[in-house]
């Protein structure tokens, strides 16, 4: 599954809402490629780098505040969107950002001299990445006069040629305009006509007209907040309609399916029998944007509305005065901008270089301070990854209680003991953990060597955790556990084929017959393979449980440490 974010200028706040929802409820969707144009590319990059959404939101709001402050709004000479963007990206993107996103992030650009669309996905350096992002956000006249150069050519906003780059058939399109996209606002108007501008379908409705105007002229923080919330709701509705809201356990169940059922093409990722899934879905339906994001919006709204100055400025008379004085304020603004530019030794052509320009430096001090308070505030509230981690832990703990109270104390207790031991010994860092539970949901992931190594490392030390992932729990208390032999025979001892076998056993969906031969198993696995597992998963489990019951009884009685056993399947019923 790939994602594609439409370019939309200041409406990009919609993508923030969508990202929050995807991160929370469908993290497996974020493993494929993400493409985007303009601000969509920036959001895609943030999403891939796993940047803290709270801080990003506050930064977007800060930019909006600056854009609204000038005499001509975002067209004021003293507001330079390119510099502001560059600054924020410099600050937030990690040093190895280009390595993280290379090959995954697809940025749509428009070549200036022939208007052709170019999609860039390889970034040699961090500067390369920044330059591509800046070029993708460059709207002529609005952002400046001279488009930035990238690899020797001048490029501008991808939105002029392909605003919604679709990589393949399985691309989920995200657009803040109501139209024929997967995740988009559904306006109440049932207008029949829509246009297709630069590959983005836009319905001809009043709401879209309003949105169109907001691309370059940012609205008030309240409106932005609503837009963000709308993004969250729309993404949630999409996930719900397509049965993509999964709980951590179901991701696991699904990976078990993959072991057996390779031929099935339908990406049915939702197990209707899973209680956890049901509750998760029910919770999701009534869910809202997380507090982190909401508080930031609330702050921004308050700061925009409170205070005597704001009150005075909002009066009709005052607005008229400010409108009337506009002709006088513009020259002052222009003079100010020119002066600061001159002082900073900055001319238009240098704006694209990575130098901090004079006027921005002045603003920057203020901004940094402002932003620090924001950051401090955000730090108090739970972050996205943290809550994801907590969620999975809570599920594990509940599961344990469930298992413990119900059945087979000795066996499960041992597993849990091991689990808790592991928790103490190898405290996973949060990011890795979230990646871990994410990874199991996706069938394409073994192709990513980087993540694959990650999982390999983590799971090697945490086979009990793995046991949890292979747990099927439709209140039937059955358990499948696969132990790998790497603990007994380290990689060095094993032959390459054996190592290969282990990998297959753990992660791959290539469940072949010779693996089963180790098990001295008599049932015909091939026959089971052919059967469609999704039709009746339970019967499958039952037959398995039966066939292995002797095995599992034997293994639970044996004194041999688990790690010494070769491949063992245990079903505790």
């Amino acid at each position: 599954m790939n994602l594609s974010f439409a370019g939309c200028g200041f409406l990009g706040i919609y993508h923030v809402g969508v990202s929050v929802c995807l991160k929370k409820y469908a993290p497996h969707l974020l493993l494929g490629s993400i493409s985007g144009a303009s601000f969509g590319a920036v959001s895609a990059c943030c999403l891939l780098c796993d940047l803290p959404i709270g801080e990003i939101t506050s930064d977007v709001l800060r930019i909006v505040g600056e854009a609204r402050a000038g005499s001509l709004g975002p067209f004021s000479p003293s507001f330079n969107i390119q510099n502001v963007l560059l600054e924020s990206m410099e600050r937030y993107l990690p040093a190895d950002a280009h390595k993280i996103v290379s090959g995954k992030l697809h940025i749509s650009l428009t070549r200036v001299y022939d208007g052709k669309n170019i999609i860039v996905s390889k970034f040699a350096t961090r500067e390369d990445l920044l330059q591509a992002l800046l070029a993708s956000c460059f709207v002529p006249v609005f952002s400046g006069m001279l488009p930035p150069k990238f690899h020797g050519n001048r490029y501008m906003d991808g939105g002029f040629s392909d605003n919604l780059p679709v990589l393949d058939e399985n691309t989920i399109t995200v657009s803040p305009f109501c139209g024929e996209s997967d995740i988009c606002p559904r306006d109440l108007s049932s207008q029949l006509f829509h246009v297709n501008l630069a590959n983005t379908s836009i319905e001809l409705s009043k709401q879209n007209m309003n949105r169109f105007a907001r691309i370059l002229f940012p609205p008030k923080p309240e409106v932005l907040s609503n837009m963000c919330k709308q993004g969250f709701d729309d993404a949630l509705r999409f996930l719900h309609r397509n049965n993509m809201i999964t709980c951590t356990r179901c991701l696991a169940v699904q990976s078990t399916y993959q072991l057996q059922d390779v031929l099935d093409d339908t990406t049915f990722e939702y197990d209707p029998d899973c209680e956890e899934c049901k509750t998760h879905r029910e919770n999701a339906l009534v869910d809202d944007l997380p507090d982190t994001v909401m508080t930031i919006f609330q702050n921004a709204i308050d700061s925009a509305n409170n205070g005597l100055v704001n009150w005075v400025m909002q009066q009709r008379g005052m607005r008229a005065v400010s409108l009337l004085t506009l002709p006088y304020r513009i020259p002052v603004d222009v003079m100010y901008a020119t002066f600061t530019n001159y002082v900073g030794g900055n001319v238009e052509t240098h704006a694209e270089q990575y130098t901090v320009v004079g006027n921005v430096r002045v603003i920057r001090k203020r901004c940094v301070r402002h932003n620090n308070t924001m950051t401090r505030f955000v730090a108090c509230t739970p972050k996205m990854s943290k809550s994801l981690w907590r969620l999975s832990w809570r599920i594990i703990r509940q599961l344990h209680g469930f298992l413990y109270s119900a059945h087979d104390r000795s066996e499960v207790a041992r597993v849990y003991y091991k689990l808790t031991m592991d928790k103490d010994e190898h405290r996973l860092d949060k990011r890795r953990a979230s990646q871990l539970c994410v990874t199991y949901g996706d069938r394409d992931i073994p192709t990513e060597p980087d993540t694959f190594e990650h999982i390999l490392n983590v799971t090697n030390h945490n086979d009990a955790l793995l046991a949890y992932y292979y747990l099927d729990s439709d209140n039937k208390m059955k358990m499948t556990e696969i132990y790998d032999v790497t603990d007994a025979d380290t990689d060095a001892v094993q032959s390459p084929t054996e190592r290969d076998l282990n990998k297959q056993l753990e992660f791959d969906n290539d469940w072949s017959g010779d693996l089963m031969a180790d098990d001295q198993d008599e049932i015909d696995i091939e026959e089971e393979l052919d059967r469609n597992i999704f039709s009746d998963p339970e019967s499958e489990w039952r037959s398995r449980a039966k066939s292995y019951s002797i095995d599992s009884a034997a293994s639970s009685e044996s004194d041999q440490p688990e790690s010494d056993r070769p491949i063992t399947f245990m079903h505790a019923e």
């Binding site: 024929e180 997967d182 207008q191 501008l197 590959n199 379908s201």
Partner: protein
């Protein structure tokens, strides 16, 4: 019946010629040569349609069916028929707003493989005649239904599977309401005009003044006014605003990037008769004046309905739910096609064809059709098409369909 409607039309249209209509017709005459439709374009439309249809492998016939005076004086409906000798239940296809028969070309072959297929240009669209419809929503609907019924009589079909897309879906439903004995199975592909207009549209979105002003200014204009107003630039406008439609034909039609916009332009730059009629049916921005939701419970309970819609569609896709809720004792199949938009038959032609063929196969097997009870309809089902009485229509000599066979292509697949 046709003449009654016709008289009513002329009366009401005379009254409804409000000042806006006058001004527009004046403008039309004034700009005359520049904006008006030339004879040459009619042949162009014929040729471009033929080019698109060249991708159809099955042998097909194209002909005009003279349906007499239903709306105008002498209305003709442009028809394409495939495999019409086959014994199975025929399938009749109604296109959507602003489209024409040629747009079905990715589907015709697959559908015609199992049964006779008829696709028509609705009255007022494509190559069919463009009479002036009534200005009353209910009458417009009745006129369209009547035109389809007259057409059915002329081509001598007893019963058929009726498939409608978008506006065609609305008309198909209206037809099934009036003539349930003719329809074996109703297939609605992303139909328009089902849900009620929500009351709180404007309360929910506080829109700025300028947006409302623009919307109000555009309200009295026909939906595709811009295509005609653009004059010579219309074709360019179509290709720029709807490049997605041409892209969908890439695999079927050679040179789709120029041919498809040309076809769409030619279809919609003529007198906007069907378009104005659709505008009459509309209430506000795209809602139906008489939404089907008020009437779906009156669809014959034994008539099975299949609803297909795309997951990305912008037409409200609660139609399937509406139908199942309002017809609790009847069969309604709802099928969502993932990744498809409003033009499902173009977005996912294979899936679409598969579902339509399945629905048709169900209609073939459906034995209850012969035993359906039509108590509330005065015309009992008989095997012969009812003879038209001569006094009914102005063109009484047309009991035999006048088949103007423009071209008969015999290509081997």
């Amino acid at each position: 019946m046709g003449s009654e409607l016709n008289i009513a039309t002329t009366n009401s249209s005379f009254l409804s010629r409000a000042w806006i209509g006058n001004i527009f017709s004046m403008l039309w005459n004034w700009t005359g040569g520049w904006l008006s439709w030339t004879q040459q374009s009619d042949t162009m439309l014929r040729n471009v349609e033929k080019t698109i249809l060249s991708c159809v492998k099955t042998v097909y016939k194209r002909f005009y069916v003279d349906i007499g005076s239903v709306v105008g004086q002498c209305d003709k409906i442009w028809t394409i028929s495939l495999n019409d000798e086959a014994p199975q239940t025929p399938l009749v296809m109604l296109h959507g707003m602003g489209a024409g028969v040629a747009l079905w070309c990715p589907n015709l072959d697959a559908l015609a493989a199992t049964r006779p297929v008829y696709a028509i240009d609705l009255l007022g669209f494509g190559r069919s005649s463009r009479p002036k419809f009534s200005s009353d929503a209910e009458k417009v609907e009745a006129q369209w239904v009547e035109s389809v019924e007259e057409w059915r009589r002329e081509v001598k079909l007893n019963h058929f599977v009726l498939l409608g897309h978008s506006l065609g879906g609305f008309i198909a439903t209206a037809y099934a309401l009036k003539y349930p004995e003719r329809v074996r199975h109703l297939i609605l592909a992303d139909p328009w005009g089902f849900p009620e207009k929500p009351a709180n549209v404007y309360e929910k979105y506080q829109l700025p003044f300028w947006v409302r002003a623009v919307a109000t200014a555009l309200q009295p204009l026909n939906p595709l006014w811009a295509v005609r107003a653009a004059g010579p630039a219309g074709k360019w406008l179509v290709s720029k605003t709807r490049p997605d439609i041409s892209r969908k034909f890439m695999n079927y039609v050679p040179d789709a990037q120029t041919v498809i916009p040309e076809y769409l332009y030619q279809c919609n730059s003529q007198t906007p008769s069907g378009e104005s009629a659709f505008h009459t049916l509309m209430h506000g921005f795209g809602w139906a004046k008489n939404p089907m939701v008020r009437r779906v419970d009156k669809i014959h309970p034994d008539l099975p309905v299949t609803v297909l819609y795309g997951s990305r569609s912008w037409v409200d896709n609660s139609t399937g739910q509406l139908l199942t809720e309002h017809r609790p004792n009847s069969t309604t199949y709802v099928q969502v096609i993932n990744g498809a938009g409003h033009h499902i038959y173009l977005d996912k032609p294979d899936l679409f064809n598969k579902y339509v063929i399945e629905a048709c196969a169900r209609a073939d097997e459906d034995t209850s059709f012969t035993t359906r009870n039509y108590e509330n309809t005065e015309a009992p089902k008989d095997t012969n098409p009812p003879q038209k009485s001569d006094g009914d229509t102005l063109t009484s000599d047309n009991t035999i369909p006048k088949q103007t066979q423009n071209s008969t292509q015999a290509q081997t697949s």
